[in-house]
């Protein structure tokens, strides 16, 4: 009797790229849910623009590169890029900016380098950074979370829809009533105007720790991240290193000068910290690969984010920190090669 031949091994685990990407999308659900509840339906509009635009750009780029689009469109990585961008940008962003960000992410962040697996930078953060430096006003307009203003959910829905279709100018007289500084913004402005930390933290943007919007979004991202850890989609090295890289210097500086430096808890639950630590910095393609390298890589992201927040020109620094450490990843890979069995310790 004759049989088919094939190289060993003859069995493999069930993991595949599409399944990994699907799990990442599942992990993002809590973040979407919290944004939806506290900041209105804007996040859904962002997802509805970013997803299709990213898919379209992926298909066009694959076609232009003469590749079979099928398996790559189905692998889900482009949807993860789109989703990360959509939950990172303010929910009030007009649709053309979201579309631009998604197109930049997929075309300039991914396909100019050779597509899946070859991009040196995190595509979503390339898109985000281009939007942030080009449209700083639109990119820092966050709706005031429910409970911190007079608005209710229908007001936020109306606002999101208007702004989505026609930009912030169309927000009209309600605009200032419904949008406000985030806690990171307020901290930066307050410190610039020489207010003390107590005075700043007594301000309207600071419900409990870091403002009810940011802190619950961060808690949601932490939950989603723990899910990814539990499903072994990501390893602990990068998230733990990011959080430690941010918590240790901020706690030290708060201890030294509590009047000028916010506590570590504030930084951990502000801006894009948890989203960045668990979902963005953990993108394996653009991160360092060895466990040691990943610890250094993550710590660098946490530290640089904190530095930008405290001394930089932007209220949050996660996107820039990720891009900077992406640049360092090849070097980290070179210097953190693990010891091979039977070789002397280096």
């Amino acid at each position: 009797m004759r049989f088919e031949t094939s190289a060993a091994p003859h069995v493999i685990a069930g993991f595949s790229v599409p399944r990994v990407m699907f799990q990442v999308l599942l992990g993002l659900l809590p973040v979407v849910a919290v944004q939806l509840t506290l900041l209105g339906p804007g996040v859904l509009l962002q997802l509805l623009v970013a997803g299709p635009v990213a898919l379209l750009c992926e298909a066009l780029a694959l076609r232009a590169r003469g590749r079979d689009a099928g398996p790559f469109l189905r692998d889900g990585s482009v949807l993860v890029t789109a989703a990360l961008l959509a939950v990172s940008v303010p929910p009030l962003l007009p649709w053309w900016l979201t579309a631009l960000g998604a197109a930049v992410a997929v075309l300039l962040g991914k396909h100019v380098y050779g597509g899946l697996g070859y991009n040196p930078f995190n595509p979503a953060m390339v898109g985000y950074a281009v939007l942030l430096v080009s449209f700083p006003l639109e990119m820092t307009q966050w709706p005031t979370p429910l409970g911190q203003s007079q608005s209710d959910w229908t007001d936020l829905a109306h606002l999101a829809w208007q702004s989505f279709l026609s930009g912030p100018a169309a927000g009209g007289p309600d605009w200032d009533a419904y949008t406000g500084a985030t806690a990171l913004d307020a901290l930066r402005t307050g410190l610039g105007q020489r207010y003390t930390m107590e005075e700043i933290f007594a301000g309207p943007a600071f419900a409990s720790i870091s403002g009810s919007g940011a802190q619950w979004i961060n808690v949601a991202a932490l939950l989603g991240g723990l899910y990814l850890l539990a499903r072994r989609i990501i390893s602990w090295h990068i998230p733990v290193a990011v959080l430690a890289g941010m918590a240790i210097p901020s706690a030290l500086m708060h201890l030294v000068d509590p009047g000028a430096h916010a506590p570590a808890t504030f930084h951990l639950l502000s801006g894009a910290t948890m989203l960045g630590a668990f979902f963005i910095a953990t993108d394996p393609v653009s991160a360092a690969t060895s466990d040691h390298g990943r610890l250094v890589y993550g710590a660098g992201i946490g530290l640089i984010t904190w530095l930008i927040r405290v001394w930089g020109g932007y209220p949050d620094g996660m996107a820039f920190a990720v891009l900077l450490m992406n640049l360092a990843a090849p070097l980290l890979d070179r210097y953190t090669v693990s010891r091979i069995h039977g070789h002397p310790r280096r």
Partner: protein, 482 residues
């Protein structure tokens, strides 16, 4: 001793062993016609030492070893040599020279097969008898047992480790052996201690085989023997990983265990040595697991070398459920055979008739997303993704730096790769190519050295001639002058 009883990384795999273990070892019917491969799996074929038409008995030497890492071959049946021909085999090449013996069914044993009074024999003589009997590693490599034991003696090793890990899915011939013939394993270990000069022996068994461990412990009377349970992690049975798990020591890069005082043999090999000293029987049989969802009654068979695998399948109830692949070995490292018309050799531990349900659908290969899962499971501590990158770039120095030669081809990286990249097969090919290049370089260096030696000799000869000529002229001149 800092035994940690496990090595870093590796995989936990579904064992698939219970089916074949439920009935104990069964004798397989003798083949009516035995195809005795000259290469029993070591890669170094023996040379036939018998003519077509000659009569042989069970245990008659029919081929001699012509390579230091090869073994002589004995006839597994009594009868007549009907041909010496190329035949399909389970070797990587798929074909090889076989001596075909028609079995007359008489079962007459060659009178040269006599028990050994090994305790009163000097070790070198025991080694010579083991080599002459053709006993080779039954753990899959079929490396001559005597050569390994001899290397151990030369390096004055102290610690013999018997490999009873049997980590790969489906394979359970060693487990059946340890459960039912523990005394053979222990006797073989004593002979091996005598032959190698080692002072003590550890029999290492994965901790998911409690019956085997209990049987060995019950049979162990010699205080030099220790039975150690090690963690059930694939590939615990790989030599370097096993020795690391048992002793906490790593075998240095490009070295062999004897250089650090260790010696490793398979438990099946020890049992074969025991059979040699008690009955005089050379390596003419082995226990082979015949299993998979594609055979009717999976079992461990005590089968003669040279039996076609098709007959072993018949002995196990024949095929069922349309087996797609016939794997010699386990599903992680085994070779998919083209046909079941290949004879059993010493290297074939297991035959898996795998149905579609036993196999993985690989799907299309995707680009590497650098997830690092491969590095996390690699028992050799390599970075398979970096190796693969270097491979695609054709960067030889980088391949060297990332340790291509240290790859043990266990398949762990393949198993976990979400992009379904056939890493092991690619590394295997690259290793073969690089060792070829290495050999070519060696041969080129050898040829160059020979050429340079020749040139030097020629130059020296010319110089000597010139000097002799000058001397002669000077002498002639002085004579004339005088």
């Amino acid at each position: 001793m800092a035994a940690r009883n496990r090595f870093p990384a590796g995989l936990e795999l579904p064992p698939h062993k219970a089916l074949a273990l439920q009935h104990g070892i069964q004798p397989a019917p003798e083949p009516a016609r035995a195809f005795v491969a000259m290469d029993q799996g070591s890669g170094h074929a023996a040379t036939p030492a018998i003519a077509v038409g000659e009569r042989v008995r069970i245990g008659t030497r029919i081929a001699r070893a012509t390579h230091a890492n090869g073994t002589p071959v004995s006839s597994p049946v009594a009868g007549t040599v009907v041909s010496i021909e190329e035949h399909e085999t389970a070797s990587p090449a798929g074909r090889g020279l076989c001596i075909v013996v028609d079995n007359d069914g008489s079962g007459v044993v060659d009178p040269a097969c006599e028990p050994l009074c090994w305790e009163s024999m000097p070790p070198y003589e025991v080694l010579a008898r083991i080599q002459d009997a053709g006993i080779a590693g039954l753990g899959g490599a079929a490396f001559p047992a005597a050569a390994k034991l001899g290397a151990g003696r030369a390096h004055e090793v102290t610690h013999l480790v018997l490999n009873g890990a049997e980590c790969e899915p489906w394979i359970c011939c060693d487990e059946a052996l340890m459960r039912e013939r523990a005394a053979d394993v222990l006797l073989g270990a004593r002979v091996m201690l005598h032959a190698s000069g080692a002072s003590h022996c550890t029999i290492a068994v994965e901790d998911d085989k409690p019956e085997a461990i209990a049987a060995l412990r019950a049979a162990a009377t010699d205080p030099r023997m220790q039975i150690t349970a090690i963690g059930t992690v694939y590939p615990a049975g790989a030599e370097r990983q096993l020795l690391h798990a048992v002793t906490g020591m790593e075998i240095p890069h490009r070295e062999h265990p004897p250089t650090v005082g260790l010696l490793c043999q398979n438990v099946g090999t020890a049992a074969a040595v025991a059979r040699l000293v008690t009955t005089g029987e050379p390596a003419i049989r082995r226990i082979v697991t015949v299993t998979g969802s594609g055979v009717g009654r999976p079992a461990n068979l005590d089968a003669r070398i040279g039996t076609p695998l098709a007959e072993l399948a018949v002995a196990c109830g024949g095929y069922q459920r349309d087996p797609r692949r016939l794997i010699a070995g386990g599903t992680m490292t085994g070779r998919a055979l083209e046909t079941d018309e290949v004879p059993l050799t010493l290297a074939v531990m297991c035959v898996v008739a795998a149905t579609a349900a036993d196999l993985a659908v690989r799907g299309a290969e995707m680009p590497c997303i650098r997830c690092g899962d491969c590095a996390r499971v690699c028992p050799a501590g390599l970075l398979p993704q970096q190796l693969h990158r270097a491979l695609l770039a054709g960067d030889e120095p980088l391949l060297e730096r990332h340790g291509l030669v240290d790859c043990i081809e266990c398949g762990c990286c393949d198993y976990v790769c979400p992009s379904r990249i056939p890493l092991t097969a690619r590394f295997q090919r690259a290793r073969a190519a690089s060792s070829l290049r290495h050999e070519e370089r060696l041969r080129a260096a050898h040829l160059r050295a020979r050429f340079e030696r020749h040139e030097r000799r020629m130059a020296e000869a010319a110089e000597a001639e010139r000097r002799a000529f000058e001397d002669a002229r000077r002498r002639a001149r002085s004579e004339r002058g005088g």
